[in-house]
Amino acid sequence: MPEMLTMMAWMVPLAGALLVRVVGDKVPPRSIAVAAALAALVCSLPGASLDALSHFAMVLYAGLTVVVLVAAPKKDSTVGEQAGTLLILAGTLAVYATDNLAVLVGGWIVSMLPLWVKPKESMASWLVPRLMLGVGTVALGGAVVLIAMEAQSSGIADVMSISALQGVKIIDNPAVYGLILLAILTRKGVVPFQSWLPAMCEQGSLLQAGLFVNGHLGAFLVARLVVPLLPNLGQDGLAPISILALVTAAYTSLLALTERRPRRLVGLLLLSQSSFILAGVESGTQEGFAGALLFWLVVSLSTTVLFVVLRALEARLGGWLRTEDYLGLGMRAPRLAAFFVVAAVAVVGMPGTLGFAAEDLLLHGTLESHRWVGLILPFATAMNAFSLLRLFARLFLGRYERMVPAIPDALPRERWVLTACLLVLVGLGVMPQAAMIFAQAKSTALHAMLHR
């Protein structure tokens, strides 16, 4: 039964995507999509057959998808968009839930499909995302083939089972590590593979791009494949991932400083802040794991709110925004402005939000293994905080009301889901111990899982 529920968690959205395609012109596609995402959330909640990391990731991801589907503007509620979002959900949940390497690769590909096959604006600008994500997928496929071949030559019956391979210590092939590393770096947008995300945010569906990245499958792969299957690597072998992640955090925050296109800017900030998750997962300490989990939660929730607000403004104004000038939209949409600013301060770790506790934990957890985190995290978050406040100021301030076109403020459906996100961020920020109890349970289990 628990296995069945877990499988249903990713099968239902898959079926939902098909259903939207088939009957989307008769039944509102948003209704089908929200129902499927809610069903996935419900199926993920018990998590009896899941390990700590998968359970956390599945519940969070299904929840995020519900938020995105409910809050998406009408323009983004077409059959294609809703089916695509469900495919991303199904593929990502499959990667989280499965113990089978083949399903993992399958989920990895399915989660990418909606973004891969949508060259809406121009082929040239889609070349970078396609190329980088394609390289990562081929690398992951190659690594899985090599793992299977090595397992078969060692006489293991189920060559595709991650749990059967874990602890056997048969995989000592540097090519496997190299290929998995490539998959992680490309999917996570780690330098030098960072360019695809801003490009995708700018040209494609903003909400889908945000959702896709907030799966954090690169970080997940470190915990799911690298640490358990390649134990001979040790801390030194994992260090390049962290170092590159920290370089990414600094690099993308520097890029964001002069970026004037809001879509690209939020994409860069998402990349920058989420890079620290990798450092936490790889730190090997319980505080580091817990910090990474909480940071994962904070970055996912906050950036989803930022993406939703930005998309809502675009839908109201009828096109992509530029911020060379002050737009003063807060005079007409004060609630959207409030959602934006609270999410912004949360993602850069201001006190009173969960971001503060998450950053504190991450800093202490990674202090011994990565002293550079102690330096780069404050620098990167300082620059990101400035870029976000600049974006907020440009979008929402600086004009008299009579000079701002009349646009509707947050609609009830937007209000409800965004308020829920902020309640989590602020509520747990004021009383972080509740989050710590959860993080401790998950990180202890994760620590034990990765070091058994």
Partner: protein, 434 residues
């Protein structure tokens, strides 16, 4: 009998609770009248003043050096704990007293000054949040907790500078101030990380590093050299907030941090010398700039920084008690001057009339000793506010922007083309009709 620990906790928590409650009422749509907000503010700070008074009586009657209030851990994970410990001693009690007394006074003043202002409620909410942050700074039992208060004070300061947010100037000035704050706050964050790394075994080298980093943070918050350039920009906010932030509390928060850094400064005398140098350079430059300012608020702000510079020098020399007395006196006087600033012209006219039109010239005492050519050069130097903004722009901002622009261009090139997106220019309402 209420314990002093509980009183201390209540004094710190009260403004935070009021902020949270009033915000919640507003979000729920309750009609919050100005009178209600004013009464709540008056009660809050009256109670807080009584609480601080009780703490003072307790400490002096019992001969206590300090009162510690532990409220367990804010959060705890495995062996790692974030303790929620508040502390008042002879350094923090005067600061806490200044905060609650002056915030209460500024609140009472603002009841009329901000009357019928569209952002009346927002102003008071930010005032409460600021008071909460300042009290957390001054009573924090650990540097980790101090960071939380430090960030609150910074954020409320920036939001109040951008109070009149319909105009672009206050907003862009607030952004500039935020950039300086966040840049300098890196010193505090990294300093605390270094302290955690060394635990209880701080070496002289580590002490020097921590002191340097804290000096960076303190200089940013207290507008010391070379960060004084943000101060005139901060005058965009309402006058009462200028009084409490840049005349009284926020501008002295850096000095408080330096007072708390004294144990490390004693281990690293070379940094103590640097603290003195920063303070004195700031004092000289600020008094020079202040003399060339043509508006009363900016003159007062530079006068304020001049005194804080002297206070930094006193702290660097180890004269803690003198520094404390100086801070208390300066904060009180400067708040009064800021609050009277809007009626300065009116008062001058009154004085002028009372003196029968015979009011003597003032403000040209020291300059008279200098040669005319030097005076002219100094005047130009002062008009550009001692080139401090220019210096920061050239040394920090311009290289960062250049690197960022270069990297962005490279990224765009990699993607093949600058942009294919449909870009919308948000029109000024009514523009289309015209």
């Amino acid at each position: 009998m209420v314990s002093s620990e509980l009183i201390l906790g209540a004094v710190v928590a009260l403004p935070g609770l009021v902020f949270a409650l009033v915000t919640m009422l507003w979000l729920l749509g309750a009609p919050l009248k100005e009178r209600f907000v004013v009464i709540v503010t008056a009660i809050t700070y009256s109670v807080a003043v009584l609480g601080v008074l009780a703490l003072f009586v307790e400490m002096s009657s019992q001969g206590l050096q300090q009162i510690l209030a532990s409220f367990g851990n804010w959060f705890k994970l495995g062996a790692y704990e974030f303790p929620l410990i508040l502390k008042v001693d002879r350094v923090s009690l005067p600061f806490a007293a200044l905060t609650v007394i002056l915030t209460g006074l500024v609140g009472a003043f603002s009841a009329r000054y901000m009357h019928r202002e569209p952002g009346f409620l927002r102003f008071f909410l930010l005032l409460h949040l600021f008071a909460f942050g300042a009290l957390v700074i001054f009573t924090a039992g650990s540097f980790d907790l101090l960071i939380a208060g430090w960030e609150f004070v910074g954020l409320t300061s920036v939001l109040l500078i951008a109070f009149f947010h319909e105009r672009p100037d206050p907003v862009s000035n607030a952004l500039r101030v935020f950039a300086v704050y966040r840049g300098c706050d890196i010193g505090l964050l990294v300093g605390v990380v270094v302290l955690h790394h060394y635990h209880d075994h701080v070496t002289p080298g580590a002490a020097a590093l921590v002191s340097l980093l804290f000096l960076l943070a303190a200089s940013g918050k207290s507008a010391q050299f070379p960060f004084s350039g943000w101060l005139p920009r901060a005058m965009e906010g309402p006058t009462p907030s200028s009084a409490i932030f840049y005349g009284a509390i926020s501008v002295h928060a850096g000095a408080y941090l330096m007072l708390r850094t004294r144990p490390y400064l004693e281990m690293a005398p070379q940094v103590a010398v640097l603290v003195v140098a920063v303070g004195l350079v700031t004092a000289v430059l600020a008094t020079l700039v202040g003399r060339a300012c043509s508006d009363v608020k900016t003159s007062l702000a530079y006068a304020s920084v001049t005194q804080v510079g002297v206070i930094f020098a006193e702290i660097g020399m180890g004269w803690e008690t003198l520094a404390l007395v100086h801070i208390c006196g300066h904060a009180a006087v400067r708040t009064l001057q800021f609050l009277r600033a809007p009626s300065a012209l009116h008062e001058f006219h009154q004085l002028h009339a009372a003196a029968g039109g015979e009011l003597g010239q003032t403000g040209s005492h020291y300059e008279a000793f200098l040669p005319v050519a030097v005076r002219a050069r100094l005047y130009r130097f002062a008009l550009d506010r001692a080139h401090m903004d220019t210096l920061l722009d050239r040394i920090v901002v311009a290289p960062l922007v250049r690197v960022s622009t270069l990297l962005n261009r490279t990224e765009y090139r990699m993607e093949g083309k600058p942009s294919g997106a449909r870009v919308v220019r948000v029109p000024v309402a009514g523009e289309a009709d015209a």
